[in-house]
Amino acid sequence: MRPSQLFRSASFRIAAAYVGLFTVSVSILAGLIYLNSTSALQSEIHMRIGAESAALKEEFGQGGIARLLQAVADRQRGRLVGGLDYTVLNAQGTHIFGDLPSTKCTPGWQVFTGPPDGDEPLGQMERLSVRVTPLGGGYCLLVADDIGKVDTFGTLILNSFGLVFLFTLLLAVAGGLFLSSRVLRRIEAINRTAEAIIEGDMSQRIARRHAPDDLDRLAATLNRMLDRMTGLMETLRHVSNDIAHDLRTPLGRLRQMLEEANRTASSPDEFRQVVTGAIEEVDNILTTFGAILRIAQIESGSRRSGFCKVSISSVVADVCETFAPLIEDSGKTLRADIEPELWIQGDRELLVQSAVNLLENAVAHTPAGTEITVRLRRSGDTVTFEVEDNGGGVPDGTTDQIFKRFYRVEQSRTASGNGLGLSIVAAVADLHAARVSATNVYPGLKIDMVFAQPA
């Protein structure tokens, strides 16, 4: 697998998109925490300075400048690192106490920058937030605190988030690469199988895993599709083999017949006789071709769009009426037991043809004296059309095969027919979603078609 393929893979892109989203949300979170904590810290500092300024102003108010100086001196003495700075100026702006730079005595907040005192980040100046409070008698009180520690705290927050972020990014990219390479490997396996099939090895199937997941289900579906296609191709190959075989035989016969005539016939009458036979043979071949095309057309399912309500009762009754004299003439009897007014959704012409084919089949493959029984009846929500005879039946185990193309029961190979009549019946049944089956009834054969009756 090439790296470029890995980066182009869908799963990698999804992973990358998630990393991107995660980055944005972590940044927002970091920003929020930074802003909230620094502003909270800042306001706490302001509150402390404000409270101190007020307290000292109170001292001044009670005891004048001496008491104030006493108070700030006490505070300065107990001052620890990080504590507040105090400075008192007189009316001329001269320092009476403390070392903050002197300033104009206007009440409010100011920011001073001074030389570093060691707790600020390297290379930065000390920054002080100063509260200026004018006192009586021109005195001015300055209370200050280092706001550099706010910045330090903020930087600390940002740095921690930066570390977390870097670590997550690494993890996400590695995870994304790992996951997508796994998925890609499986897709690659599917791809290889498909390539092998394209190359001609239809037996290839996609390897399955034990734990079923999306890709595994896809593999299963693809495998089933391949099975179906193989089945269809198999059928197609069988059909073309059958066609080749079943048309070669009569074509060979035709050729032989014509060659023989060419060699031995001497009079126009003899030639005419051979030509008549040849035409008959050609007609049979054409009929077979027609039947094959018809089966293909029925199997394509395009006729289903023309389905409408058909009286199956009248279809069967008509066909029975048509065949009654013919069956009688061939020394057999026809019994029809048809329940009237049964309707199904279907194609009348094709239903007629199936009924005709079933009756012709019963007539053609039974000895004289056979009784043929046609039944049409409803049971529940199905309609069963049945053609039964008490002729010889078919050899055991061949009842399913008689619906196959060109299948002819061995002993009846010589009998007329192209072996496609029942295939057409099966195709029509399939088109109508009907179940068709043959059973030996000793003596004889019963073929039934079971249709679902529309509500």
């Binding site: 029925i298 006729r303 008509d318 048509t322 004299p325 003439d329 012409e349 043809q353």
Partner: protein, 224 residues
Amino acid sequence: MNILLIEDEPELATYVTRYLELNGHRVEHAARGDSGYRLALQHSYDLLIVDRMLPGMDGISLVSRLRGEKRNLPVLFLSNLGGLDERVEGLNAGGDDYLPKPFAPTELLARVNALLRRPQGTHEPTVLRVGDLELNLIKRAAVRGQKEIPLLPRELSLLEYMMRRPEQVITRTMFLEGVWEYNFDPRTNIVETHISRLRSKIGADLIQTVRGSGYMIRAPKPAL
């Protein structure tokens, strides 16, 4: 009768032309759909024989356009397709009959003659007569001489189909299509069986077998 054959297969065209001319028709031939269409508009023919698949213009659109021009001459379609729906398509487009290739020349001739002799009027007879055989279409009863002949419904429609086409050759497939509405070829000879039944009921002299083609109903020639 003047027939225009529109067919692009030269061998088949020559064969059909020769056969129809031999049987007393005049045939003109066009090898393309568009030229055939122009010919059909310029001259008056009694019948058109049109192949489905043609260069220039296909048979279906040719006939639809002719019908659009109010040309009501009978049309017989020829087709290689011979499938399930092609027949219906051809008839819907305005064709009067449909013959799938390959066909026997006798079949073509019988259908051509049937189309040419089709009554143009809309007058619908209630009684059909051939010789002394009478078929009352309203009472659905056949009488020969003075004797009523009991017929089954199928035999009645078979007889009606023939009596509407007296002295015309009717082929097996024409019977199957016209009487049974079977557009496929059953392998058994149901037509022969039913004709022989009918014959035995109405008398053998009326229905003649035309060898290699089909049957014809005709009043027997008076015995000399």
